[in-house]
């Protein structure tokens, strides 16, 4: 039997997209959470300009990351409960490729739309335009790595009693290189150095994750399915 991989790919992407469209509530939750953090920070730090310019970039980053983490560990959980993962496991496509597609779709439809909010929040916090530009680039690249880490963690915690407690513990230590190099880019831009070396390192981390993450996730999904 000849298998048409193109059709499978398109069907897979369509299914993922529809499932995200139907659970639009998650996306709205993320946005509400982000706005809450952005409003809370100036109120707790104090509205004075000098203090806010020191931490404004960090506030945007924290708002984005903290709002992403709760959805990040649920990439596979609904598929696992519905039995979709077993179907993926027995499908002619490699499980690794399916995971890669799932991560890309998650990144493209759930994380990339958040970049619209970076300029809005940045203007609220008086961040200069050059840094807003770099922030969007770093976020677009770094969040892909973030999704891949989330894929590892959510596949490891499949079938746990409650994965809310462990997932941040798993995600944060793995995601530290992304934070360090992302911050390095912004610091370099702020002090008029060349930001490219740090950006290359950030891309390197994401590329390494792109190779490792599907392998580890597929292995741990197989373990979760054979329990």
């Amino acid at each position: 039997m000849k298998i048409n991989f193109k059709n499978i790919l398109i069907a897979l992407i369509e299914k993922e997209f529809k499932s995200y469209l139907r659970s639009i509530n998650n996306f709205m939750n993320m946005i509400v959470f982000m706005i809450a953090i952005i409003i809370l920070f100036p109120l707790t730090v104090g509205p004075s300009e000098e203090k806010l310019t020191l931490v404004s970039n960090a506030i945007v980053w924290i708002a984005l990351i903290v709002s992403i983490i709760p959805t990040l560990d649920k990439i596979y959980i609904s598929d696992f409960k519905n039995g979709w993962l077993e179907q993926y496991y027995y499908s002619p496509l490699l499980l690794e490729i399916i995971i890669l597609i799932k991560c890309f779709v998650f990144w493209f439809f759930l994380i990339i739309p958040l970049t619209i909010f970076i300029p809005i929040f940045s203007i609220l916090l008086n961040i200069p335009f050059l840094i807003i530009f770099w922030n969007i680039i770093i976020f677009a690249i770094g969040s892909l790595g973030f999704c891949l880490i989330g894929s590892i963690c959510s596949s490891l915690t499949l079938g746990t009693k409650s994965n809310n407690l462990i997932s941040p513990l798993l995600i944060l230590p793995l995601a530290i290189p992304i934070f360090i190099f992302g911050n390095g880019v912004v610091e370099a831009v702020k002090s008029n150095y060349d930001p490219l070396p740090n950006l290359y390192l950030l891309i390197t981390v994401c590329l390494i994750l792109l190779i490792i993450s599907p392998l580890i996730s597929a292995y741990s999904i197989k373990i979760a399915l054979t329990k």
């Binding site: 590892i152 490891l156 915690t157 079938g159 746990t160 009693k161 409650s162 994965n163 407690l165 462990i166 513990l169 798993l170 944060l172 230590p173 793995l174 530290i176 580890i216 292995y219 741990s220 373990i223 979760a224 329990k227």
Partner: protein
């Protein structure tokens, strides 16, 4: 040899006569080491008496990372040869490693306050040690997170292997970045740069910690084996 000892019962029988002597060695080495380091070693010309924190800080730090390494090795054994005893060993090491890494951070910050003037800096060495501590937490958390305890061992093993990335970062963090933490002074290409009189108590303390961790891990292994037997008995009773 490894094949022979991979059976839990044979392992316990093999270890029974040795166990007592390991306990004796532990107390002997740690008492001699503590005496030498507290009363019979020179003061540092800069740090004075505070340098004596080193004699427990360094063993804690070394064994925190070494125990993580042994967890990963046991996990690799477990994932490749699927031997349940390797999993029991890894699980038995984890709590001790967690305690060691917490104590490393605590003694380090107690040492840092008089020397550097702060309890904590977000320095490469300190941060990577904190991450090791988080990895231990995550390992213990994930290995106990499943309704059936056995289900947690494979995800935990994968996590242990992923976390091995952190170990070279801890080791070389003082060489790669400019940090407040002092560079390596014992394991170097050109021999140890530490004073001979300070090296002797440190080595004795390290030996004492080695015996102590083996002793405690043996107790943990026994406890876990008994727990496993108890669970299988419950299954038999239905």
């Amino acid at each position: 040899m490894i094949n022979y000892l991979a059976n839990p019962n044979r392992f316990l029988n093999f270890m029974k006569p040795i166990e007592f002597s390991i306990g004796v060695f532990t107390f002997l080495f740690i008492f001699i080491g503590l005496y030498l380091s507290l009363f019979n070693s020179p003061e540092d010309y800069q740090q004075g008496d505070t340098v004596r924190i080193m004699y427990i800080h360094v063993p804690f730090a070394w064994f925190a990372s070494f125990l993580y390494f042994s967890i990963s090795i046991a996990s690799i054994f477990f994932l490749i040869w699927k031997h349940p005893f390797a999993d029991i060993i890894a699980r038995s090491i984890a709590p001790l490693g967690l305690i060691f890494s917490i104590l490393t951070i605590l003694t380090g910050s107690l040492w840092g306050k008089p020397m550097w003037g702060t309890w904590w800096v977000w320095d490469a060495r300190l941060t990577s040690m904190l991450i090791l501590c988080i990895f231990y937490f995550a390992y213990i958390g994930i290995s106990n997170a499943f309704p059936r305890k056995i289900d947690g061992s494979k995800p935990a093993a994968i996590l242990a292997i992923v976390g091995m990335v952190n170990l070279p970062i801890i080791k070389f963090s003082v060489d790669w970045w400019n940090t407040l933490h002092q560079p390596a002074s014992i394991i170097r290409f050109d021999g140890p740069s530490i004073n001979q009189e300070m090296l002797l108590p440190l080595v004795i303390m390290l030996l004492g910690f080695l015996f102590m961790s083996i002793f405690i891990i043996l107790i943990n292994i026994k406890t876990n084996l008994i727990y496993k037997k108890y669970q299988s008995e419950i299954l038999k009773l239905g």
